[in-house]
């Protein structure tokens, strides 16, 4: 406890999320404790200081003890973070000891754009629906747009483990306790705990605490990417709940809401997080995979909409009833950075196989509509439908686990099984080299 610590005991105003206290010499964004509850300065007007109380203000009295720390929220960074689980304040929740290290303010400055390197490294995940059609690249930021009932946490844990990242930092926001235990168990079973750090805010914790999670997670990621030149994968789930917490605070501060009751600064707030994804020139990188849950698949809602303008593509999950499995939807999913690696870091036929397979899958979708409307199917339609079944099962399903070479071979195999050379119609040089059909 420093000698300069200032303590105040006269709270002027209390709302559901904030209190106001008269105090001098207080800094913007400074951390404080109100009766031991973590809080942060969000507004200063003369000597009136407004604090956001992260756990909420229930039971706070007007004579509560307000202690200012004199500094913005920080985290102690060191290699000891590996294998550990923390709450939103960076306090251990796994029964382990406090971590010691270099104390660093979270939510630090942005990378100078001219110091960035163009992302160019392929991240294999083994999931063909991602690697083949929506290839991920180091330094990319991409969310899953998923309905709450879809198994996005499972897919994300799977991606994290299969991607050959040096470090995985998980930021859980509003995560159910069950999901938290699932992640813990999965990482443990995979023997991957030593390359994982988690910051978790569960549904039992106060929603406003979530606001600290992305900054904690990304400041840790920057430590490993910059200081250790590691390839860091950051998982953020669920960003919709993060945005909801932003809306709560902005509402309590009497700010005028814009579209969908979200704060007017939502775009900047989200961009500040996602833009931490970067390829550093020295080799380290931060890749962000996030989850944005949708309400009834509506992507025009302010949260997915602003996210879509910020991230470099998006991934959709869909249940394919024909094969009874969840697949990565090839039509709506998109990785904007895939052009930087496909056919360059992967085999030359990658772009063409990808496009052809998706095009024929679209033909199958048309055939299916015809079938459902009771029209007669042509021979081509029938073959498209059989192809779609195989393609979905062997390549799109989320339980597929093969390397990039095998995906392309599988693609050629399925194409050859159902179609003629003319129907496939890829570049002649590629057809001559890889075609396996009649």
């Amino acid at each position: 406890m420093s000698a300069f610590q200032k303590i105040y005991t006269k709270v002027e105003n209390i709302t559901k999320a904030t209190i106001t206290v008269k105090a001098d010499g207080i800094s913007n964004e400074e951390m404080a404790y109100v009766n031991g509850r973590p809080a942060q300065v969000v507004k200063i007007k003369g000597n009136e200081v407004t604090l956001q109380i992260f756990p909420g203000t229930q039971g706070i009295y007007t004579n509560a003890e307000v202690k200012f720390t004199g500094k913005a929220p920080t985290i102690k960074l060191s290699d000891d973070l590996r294998g550990r689980f923390f709450n939103a304040y960076g306090e251990p929740i796994d029964g382990g000891a406090q971590v010691d290290g270099e104390e660093t303010e979270i939510g630090g400055p942005s990378v100078n754009p001219v110091r960035r390197k163009q992302p160019s490294e392929f991240i294999p995940t083994g999931i063909a629906g991602i690697d083949l059609n929506n290839t991920l690249v180091t330094g990319q930021k991409i969310p899953f747009f998923a309905d709450p009932d879809q198994p996005y946490n499972m897919v994300m844990a799977d991606v994290a483990l299969k991607a050959k990242a040096d470090m995985i930092i998980l930021g859980g926001m509003g995560m159910s306790n069950d999901d938290y235990l699932y992640y813990k168990q999965t990482f443990d079973n995979a023997g991957a705990l030593d390359r994982i750090t988690c910051f978790i805010n569960t549904t039992q914790d106060a929603p406003v605490e979530r606001l600290l999670i992305p900054d904690m997670t990304l400041t840790t990621a920057e430590y490993f990417a910059v200081k250790k030149n590691m390839k860091v994968l950051v998982l953020l789930t669920d960003m919709t709940l993060y945005a909801d917490a932003l809306a709560i605070v902005s509402n309590r501060m009497d700010q005028i809401p814009s579209k969908d009751s979200m704060p007017g600064s939502l775009y900047s707030d989200l961009a500040k997080i996602y833009e931490k994804a970067v390829q550093f020139p020295e080799g380290g990188s931060i890749t962000i995979i996030a989850v944005t849950t949708l309400s009834g698949g509506d992507i025009t809602h302010a949260i997915p909409d602003n996210t879509g303008y910020i991230t470099e593509g998006q991934l959709y999950l869909r249940r394919d009833t024909d094969i009874g499995k969840v697949i990565i939807d090839p039509f709506r999913s998109l990785s904007r950075l895939k052009q930087l690696v496909i056919g360059k870091k992967t085999r030359e036929d990658h772009p063409q196989v990808m496009n052809t397979c998706v095009r024929l899958f679209a033909d199958a979708a048309n055939a299916k509509t015809k079938q459902e409307n009771g029209f007669d199917l042509t021979d081509y339609d029938e073959r498209c439908l059989s192809y779609a079944h195989d393609y979905s099962k062997e390549l799109l399903a989320i339980d597929v686990d093969i390397d990039a070479e095998k995906m392309l071979d599988t693609g050629w195999e399925i194409l050859g099984k159902y179609f003629t050379r003319d129907e496939v119609a890829m570049k002649k040089v590629l057809m001559d080299k890889y075609w396996r059909g009649k």
């Binding site: 913005a72 400055p109 960035r116 814009s258 900047s268």
Partner: protein, 593 residues
């Protein structure tokens, strides 16, 4: 003595200061946070209190911290050395900053201090000059960079002294002028200018009348931009706004490109400065970077500087226009600029307009768009700024305030359509929703008739009618089925597909197809017009589909050959011969269009 202030309130980047002297609206001040100077701009004055927006993070700021006012508005420094640079929204040279991370309060020189420029005078002692008159020029790479009389000179002045040809740094005195009141004005190669004021030192701003070639067919042929004109491109995410902006930056027929990355992804800017130093300008053979100035204020950089970035870009464009250049200004995306305005308006607790945007959003956008234009300079030469802004409508809804306000201000509208993007019909500019007001300008029509061909505007109108009728026919076919409609519907629809596949669709990544100069657009349009205006003899709808599919295929082959090469002529002939197989001799043009 300059006005001083003291911090009395902080909410995010909105800071309230108590001041001890006069302050101006939009005046710049520096808040001294433990030795780090945070730049800020006055946005509201309330008695002795002023609200300022800080261009940096305000973390750690306390009540009582002092501030000093600069006595000027936000300004840029204009002079030789700007080409190929990457600036932030406040014109700091990003390459001059140290370290990987941006440091708060670090401001860098926009020009090259110490570099000597080879100066050649264009005026002599005794000459009468006015604002923006050309005093001399320096060689900046390929550009004869004009050294001008400061833009704020009122009336005329006489040159009292001008240096002889030789090498000088940009900040050294190159001339002394005596103004009408007998005051001497020292002039260097550098001009300071407040970004929110238009540079209006020109004789006149006539209506745009020349075609501005972008090399993109769906723009140049169907909805052309005029040199000095304005256009905007709204589109949901994933519809290809940024690819279009980059395509214009690569292929447009302009001397100088100013690209403003306003609140967008940093990796997109990285793409530009990774690729532009390698790619060649199709017209001059020089590297694209040599004609480009980038303003990068990406989405994670301070929001107030984002608002400044579009003005910084515009002012730099105006500077080059004053030296007789044809400038293309691109801004991606002006919605982020509007959002920056919204964030501040919100913190100021102003009464909001629609979607919480400030009430004067429309006026602000209109004023900004009005700064572009084709101008006649005082020395009789001309210069222009053509402006193309991308708009990111919330939820892809074109009825939102930024899109609607921009629609009132811009004269060309390029609607990027999600359905087109989904079906990979790129560029995804919807040919029916989009429009260009310039094709209603008789000046432009006359220009096209003279420089492209006689009857050009009528031909383009026919193409548009074909597209519209094709769309109607397609709707009918979808409802009634292939057999349920007359054969004519299939022909109409297929003709529109020919226009779509040959003229509208363009592979912006292809070496040949990526950019199409006007002579080739003319050739292609004439080929397509001939196909659309001919009558054919078909047996059934399958026959129709087969015929036009082949036509499209043949046109595509022609498109990818080098213009007027042997292969090109061969492909053109094959197309002609094949078309003839079904053509009916009685060629009743207008009716079948």
């Amino acid at each position: 003595m300059s006005t001083k202030g003291k911090v009395v309130g902080v909410v995010a980047n909105l800071v309230t200061l108590e001041v001890d002297g006069p302050v101006g609206q939009n005046e710049i001040c520096f808040i001294d946070l433990k030795g780090t100077k945070l730049m800020a701009e006055v946005i509201k004055v309330m008695g002795d209190k002023v609200a300022v927006q800080v261009f940096e993070s305000t973390r750690g700021l306390q009540v009582g911290v002092s501030a000093e006012f600069a006595g000027r508005m936000l300004e840029v420094t204009l002079g030789p050395g700007m080409l190929s640079k990457t600036y932030d929204g406040l014109q700091n040279d990003l390459h001059k900053m140290e370290g990987v991370f941006l440091k708060r309060g670090e401001y860098t020189q926009p020009l090259n201090p110490g570099q000597k420029w080879k100066f050649t005078p264009l005026a002599k002692v005794g000459d009468e000059v006015e604002a923006a008159s050309w005093l001399g020029e320096v060689k900046e790479n390929w550009l004869d960079h004009k050294i001008m009389v400061p833009f704020d000179l009122k009336g005329t002045a006489k040159i009292k002294k001008i240096v002889s040809a030789g090498e000088y740094t940009s900040d050294s005195e190159i001339a002394v002028l005596t103004d009408a009141n007998g005051n001497d004005i020292s002039v260097s190669m550098e001009i300071k200018w407040a970004v929110k004021r238009e540079v209006s030192a020109y004789k006149s701003k006539p209506r745009p009348f020349k075609l501005f070639e972008t090399g993109v067919r769906t723009v140049d042929t169907l909805n052309p931009l005029a040199e000095g004109g304005t256009g905007f491109m709204p589109g949901p995410f994933g519809a290809g706004k940024t690819v279009m902006q980059h395509s214009f930056a690569k292929n447009a027929n302009a001397d100088i490109i100013v690209m403003v990355a306003c609140g967008e992804r940093a990796n997109e800017v990285v793409e530009i400065f990774t690729e532009f130093p390698e790619l060649e300008d199709p017209r001059t053979g020089r590297k694209l970077m040599e004609r480009t100035v980038i303003i990068a204020n990406t989405s994670n950089m301070p929001v107030a500087a984002r608002e400044a970035s579009v003005y910084t870009g515009m002012t730099i464009a105006e500077y080059y226009r004053s030296m007789g250049m044809k400038v293309l200004l691109l801004a991606d995306s002006t919605s982020r600029w509007a959002q920056a305005l919204r964030e501040m308006s919100n913190r100021l607790e102003e009464l909001p307009g629609q979607d919480a945007f400030p009430m004067d959003l429309s006026a602000i956008i209109a004023q900004f768009y009005a700064r572009n234009g084709y101008v006649e300079l005082n020395n009789g030469k001309t210069g222009s700024i053509t402006f193309l802004g991308a708009v990111s409508p919330a939820g892809g809804n074109l009825k939102e305030p930024v899109t609607e306000s921009t629609k009132k201000a811009a004269r060309c509208f390029y609607a990027l359509d999600q359905a087109r993007a989904d079906s990979k019909r790129y560029p995804a500019i919807d040919p029916i929703e989009s429009y260009s007001k310039y094709i209603e300008y008789p000046e432009l029509v006359a220009y096209l008739e003279e420089n492209v061909q006689k009857g050009w505007a009528d031909g383009v109108q026919i193409l548009k009618d074909v597209l519209l009728r094709g769309k109607e026919a397609k709707d009918q076919i979808n409802i009634l089925g292939d057999d349920g409609v007359p054969l004519e519907y299939h022909i109409t629809y297929n003709k529109s597909e020919v226009v779509d596949f040959s003229i509208l669709q363009q592979d912006s990544f292809d070496k040949v197809d990526g950019t199409t100069p006007m002579p080739r657009q003319k050739q292609l349009t004439n080929v397509v017009l001939d196909i659309c205006q001919s009558n054919y003899n078909f047996e059934d709808f399958e026959d129709v589909n087969k015929f036009f599919r082949r036509i499209i295929n043949l046109i595509n082959q022609m498109k990818y050959t080098k213009f007027e090469s042997q292969e090109f002529y061969a492909a053109e002939k094959e197309l002609k011969d094949f078309t003839a197989t079904k053509k009916v001799a009685n060629d009743n043009k207008k009716e079948s269009a």
